[in-house]
Symmetry: C2
Subunit: 546 residues, 2 copies
C-alpha cells in the first residue's frame, strides 16, 4: 500500500530570491526578509566578537526587536498546524538554554563535566518516565519519534521471532509504523492491517480477532496465531480520532501479544491508558525541541535491538545523546501536562465550534473523525469541488497555516492513507490543529474567512450551473484530469440525466476512487461501482436518485 504520513506533503520549491513571508503580489516589508536573516544565520561573525560573546548582526535582530520578527510568531497570526510541529514551549526553551551550558559533555565520561551531563540525563529520564508512566530504566531517548517507532517495532519483532512473524497494525497508523511494517514484509514477515470505521477508529473486536490468527485459534497462547507484535496509535494524527487503546491492550494481554502504542499525538494531553508494552512519542509534537523521541519498553517484554550495537541508551538508541534537547523535551512535557486539562477543555470547545460551524458556513463539506472521542485540538474536513493545494495556498495567503491529506498536496499524488481507510471524501481536505494559546478570535476569523476562500476556489474551477435534466445516460471522460476535476465533471452533468439514469466517469486519478463514492453519499446519489477502464484508470458508475 502507498502509505502516506506526516512527512509526505510535497515540499514547495521557492525560487531563489523569493521571500516566503511575502504573499504573492504582496509588498515586502523592509528588513524583514528571510534571505538576509538566513545569510546572517550561517555567516560566522567576526571571530573577536564571537569569542567575547558579542552580539552578531543576527543577535541584534533577535527576538526582542519585534519590528524585525516574522509577524506570525507568538500567536500573532494563527498557526493551525500544531499536529505537524508546535513552536517551542517557553519552558522547553529555558531548559534547552540551561542544558546547553550544563549538559554539552559526554555523559559516559568520568570527569566532572561528564558526571554533570550524566546527572542531567538521569534526571530527564526520571521526569520523562514519570510523565509517561513507566520506570526510568524502561525508557530511552531516541533522535525522533520516527526512530522510536522504527526501533520499537524492529526490536520487538526480533525479540519474539520464535513466536511468529506476524505484525498487526491499524490501517491508519502514522507512516513511520507503516514503513516499519513494509520493511518487515520486505524481509519476509507478514503484516496485517486492521480496518477502521468511518470515524477512523478500529473496532476492538476486529482487532482482537486478528490477534487470534486467521483460523480464529489459540486464545490465551500466542503460539497459534504467530503474532509477534501489535501496533495501535493512541489517537490519529490526521483526523484526531482516539483509538480504543485500553480495550485493544486488554485483547493483546489475553492473546499474549505485546502492544506498541504510538502516542506521538496524545502524550502532551495526558498519559496513555495502561496495558501497553511499548510506547513511542515525539517531543516536537508537544512543544519540545526537534531531535528527541521517547521509546519505553516494559520490563519483561522480549526486545532485541536491531542494527549495529552501541553502548548508549541501553543499546536501544545509538549515537551521542542529544542531552540539551532531551532535558528540554522532558521539562516541556511536564509543563504542557500541567496545563493540559484546562487548555484541552478550552481548545475542545473551539474545535467543537469549528465542527459545528463549518458545515453551516460552507456548502458541500464533510467533517470527518469522531466528534467526541478525539484529540482536543484537531479537526479535519473536506470540501467538494476544491483543489486541496489551492485551498491551502489561499488560506496561507489569509494567514492561516493548515495541513491537508488531499492527493494534490502529497508527493505520491494519492490521498492520505487515513482518509482512504476511513472511506471519506479527500478532495479539498483541511486539517486544523490548534496550538496551545489559540484564541477564540483566531478561530472566529478562520470561520469568517473560510467560506469566501472555498467559494473562490470553486468559482475558479468552474463548478458551473447545472444543465436542465431529463437526458440519456452519459459517459464523462475525465482521464488525465486531476482531483477535484473528475468529481466536478460528475456534479456538472448529473442533473442532465433522468432520475434512474447513470453517469459513468472515466478517471485515472487515485483520489476519484475515494471521492466519487463520498460525493454520492453526500449528495444522496447511488454509487453503483467501478470497473477497470480499457483506456486506463476506472469507469465509475453513478445512478441519479433525485
Amino acid at each position: 500500500m502507498g502509505s502516506r504520513g506526516e512527512g509526505a506533503q510535497r515540499a514547495v520549491r521557492v525560487p531563489e530570491g523569493v521571500d516566503p513571508e511575502v504573499p504573492q503580489g504582496g509588498r515586502k516589508r523592509p528588513f524583514g526578509g528571510l534571505a538576509a536573516r538566513r545569510a546572517a544565520l550561517l555567516t560566522p561573525p567576526h571571530p573577536r566578537r564571537a569569542a567575547s560573546g558579542g552580539r552578531t548582526p543576527l543577535a541584534a535582530r533577535g527576538p526582542r526587536r519585534s519590528g524585525l520578527r516574522p509577524r506570525l510568531y507568538r500567536g500573532r497570526m494563527p498557526y493551525f498546524d500544531a499536529a505537524s510541529a508546535a513552536p517551542l514551549h517557553p519552558v522547553a526553551r529555558q531548559a534547552l538554554l540551561a542544558a546547553l551550558d550544563e549538559g554539552w559533555a559526554d555523559p559516559a565520561r568520568l570527569h566532572r563535566e561528564g558526571r554533570r551531563a550524566r546527572l542531567l540525563l538521569d534526571a530527564a529520564r526520571e521526569a520523562a518516565a514519570e510523565t509517561v508512566g513507566c520506570r526510568p530504566d524502561e525508557l530511552v531517548f531516541t533522535p525522533s519519534g520516527t526512530h522510536a517507532v522504527h526501533s520499537g517495532v524492529s526490536g520487538a519483532l526480533a525479540g519474539r521471532r520464535r513466536v511468529g512473524d506476524r505484525l498487526v497494525v491499524s490501517a491508519v497508523e502514522h507512516s513511520s509504523v507503516l514503513h516499519a511494517g513494509e520493511a518487515h514484509a520486505a524481509a519476509g514477515g507478514t503484516v496485517t492491517e486492521v480496518p477502521v470505521g468511518r470515524t477512523g477508529a478500529v473496532d476492538p473486536e476486529t482487532f482482537a480477532a486478528e490477534l487470534r490468527g486467521p483460523d480464529g485459534g489459540a486464545g490465551a497462547g500466542a503460539a497459534g496465531s504467530g503474532v509477534a507484535l501489535a501496533c495501535l496509535q493512541s489517537a490519529n494524527h490526521e483526523v484526531g480520532t482516539e483509538q480504543p487503546v485500553a480495550e485493544v491492550a486488554e485483547a493483546c494481554r489475553a492473546a499474549g501479544v505485546p502492544l506498541l502504542v504510538d502516542a506521538a499525538q496524545s502524550l502532551g494531553w495526558g498519559p496513555v491508558p495502561g496495558g501497553w508494552s511499548l510506547l513511542a512519542a515525539s517531543a516536537h509534537k508537544w512543544g519540545g525541541p526537534a531531535g528527541v523521541g521517547f521509546l519505553a519498553v516494559r520490563k519483561g517484554v522480549r526486545f532485541a535491538p536491531q542494527g549495529p550495537s552501541d553502548e548508549r541508551e541501553s543499546g536501544r538508541a545509538p549515537g551521542f545523546e542529544n542531552l540539551p534537547a532531551v532535558v528540554a523535551a522532558a521539562a516541556s512535557l511536564r509543563a504542557v501536562r500541567a496545563e493540559a486539562a484546562a487548555e484541552g477543555a478550552r481548545l475542545r470547545a473551539l474545535v467543537d465550534r469549528i465542527r459545528a460551524r463549518v458545515p453551516e458556513l460552507v456548502p458541500d463539506v464533510e467533517v470527518v473523525g469522531d466528534p467526541v472521542r478525539r484529540l482536543p485540538h484537531l479537526v479535519t474536513f473536506s470540501c467538494l469541488y476544491v483543489d486541496g493545494e489551492t485551498l491551502l495556498s489561499e488560506l496561507d495567503r489569509e494567514g492561516f497555516s493548515v495541513s491537508s491529506g488531499s492527493s494534490c498536496t502529497s508527493s505520491t499524488l494519492t490521498p492520505s492513507h487515513v482518509l482512504r481507510a476511513m472511506g471519506v471524501l479527500s478532495e479539498g481536505n483541511v486539517r486544523v490543529s490548534l496550538p496551545a494559546g489559540t484564541t477564540e478570535a483566531d478561530v472566529d476569523r478562520f470561520l469568517a474567512v473560510l467560506p469566501g476562500v472555498v467559494s473562490g476556489v470553486r468559482d475558479r474551477l468552474g463548478t458551473g450551473a447545472p444543465v436542465p435534466d431529463g437526458g440519456e445516460d452519459l459517459v464523462v471522460d475525465a482521464l488525465g484530469k486531476r482531483c477535484p476535476l473528475p468529481v466536478i465533471e460528475l456534479a456538472k452533468v448529473i442533473g442532465t440525466v433522468r432520475v434512474g439514469g447513470t453517469v459513468t466517469v472515466l478517471a485515472d486519478d487515485e483520489a476519484a476512487r475515494l471521492d466519487i463514492p463520498a460525493w454520492c453519499e453526500m449528495r444522496a446519489q447511488e454509487y453503483v461501482g467501478a470497473t477497470p477502464s480499457p483506456r486506463g484508470g476506472h469507469a465509475y458508475v453513478v445512478r441519479r436518485l433525485s
Copy 2:
C-alpha cells in the same frame, strides 16, 4: 573483537544527593549545587510566568550571574576532553537560538512556517556541503555521527551487494564503524581489519593489498576482490594520528572500491583530502550541538538506504529534521573553519610542548601517536605502574578533565582497541584534547600538576624499592589482579633474578597482554612470549637483559 569507542568509558554512578561538582571531602559551595539546578531545569514554572515570557527561577540563575555558574565553563578551568565533546561554540548558540524561532516548523509543509523552515534547511545544507566539499544534494543531515556512519556503511554495502560482501576497515576506526562491521559480519558478510603501525597509521600499501583481495587479484576491477566498501578515518580519535587518506583513496579508486571516510575528529580543522566516496561527521566534535551528523555520498556511488523508508533527507535519514540544530551545526562549522588555521597552529605548539615535557617530567611514560602527522589539539600518553581510573580521578580533582583508554576506565575491562592495535602501553593512559581557546597557562598548570599526581598514584600502589639481584628464575602469580598490578609485580621482582634469568607473570587481566610487552620495550628487557596458563589467563615470560 572487543571494540571500544568513544562511548565505552564506564559511567560513574553518583549516589543520589552527591554533588559531582564538589570534590570528595571538599566543601559544597552555597547555591551552586547541581541538584537544585536540575530540579529547576525540570520543573515547570508557574504557567502565567512562562506564558508571559517571565523569568523562571532557572532563568534567574542564568549565564549572566557568574557567581552561580559552574566555575568550569568559559575556560575558567581547563577542560581537556574536546575530542569527546566540545562546549557549544558561540556562533552555534546564536544560530540555534535564531533557528528555534525561525525553523521549528515542518519543512515538508506548504504553509509559510514550513517554507521558512525549508529555506533554512536548504541554506544549512548548502553551507555544510560547501565546507565539506561536495554538492548540496550529496549531503544529508543525520541525528549523530554514529548514525551517519551506520547509515553510510549499511547503505554502501547494500548498494554494492552484487560486487561482493567484503568490508575493509582500519583496525583503529571509531567504535561506530567497527560496530557496523560487526553487524555486517553477523549478517554473513566478511570484515577485514587492516593493521596499523606503532604510530597508529595504516600503511597505504597494506591497505591497497586488502582491496585487491586475498589472492592479490583483480587489479582495476573490484569483481575479483569482492570488496564492497572500505572505511578509513581521517584522523584517530584516541591518539590523534592522521591517516594517509589521499593515498588510500587513490588505491580505492584504482581498485574500484568506494571509500567511506569518518571525518568526525578532523572536519573542524579542515576539509578531507579529495577522493572519498562517502564522508561522515559529527557536529558536537567541532562545537556544534549534539544531535547532528553529516553523511555525504558522492553522486555515482551505488547506495541503497537500509531500514524502513522515509521521505525526509533523500530517504537516507528518517525522522523529523532537527532543524535548529542543523542550522547551528552548519554555522559553527563555518565559524571554526574560519579560525582553524590560526587556532590549529597555536594548539599544535601547546601539544608539542606536552609531548616534549611529559617524558621529561614524569618517569616511565610513553607518549603515543604520530608526533607530526596528527591532529593539532590531541595528545595521548601512558604511565607505567598507574591505574588509569585513579589517575583520571586525581586529575579531575585538580580541575583537569581528560579521557583514558585504560582497561580500568572502560566498561569492557579491556584496554582501548586503538592502543591494542598499535601495540603500545595502555596502563595509566591519558588522552588530552584541547578545546579552542586553551591557554598556555592552562597547559603549564597541567604540566606542573601531572608529575605529583602520577607519583602520588604510584606511591599508593606501592611500586616499592627493588630487591637485591642475582636470584633464580621466578614465577609471579598475579591472577585475579587488575591492571596495573601485574606490571607492578613484574617490575618489583625483575631485579631479583640474575641477568639472563626469567620472570614468568601469571595474569588474567586483558591489559597485561599489551602492557607487559610494552613494559619490556620501555625497560629494554626481553619479552619472550605468552602461553595459556592452566589456571586461566596467560603466563607471560620476560628475560632480564640488564
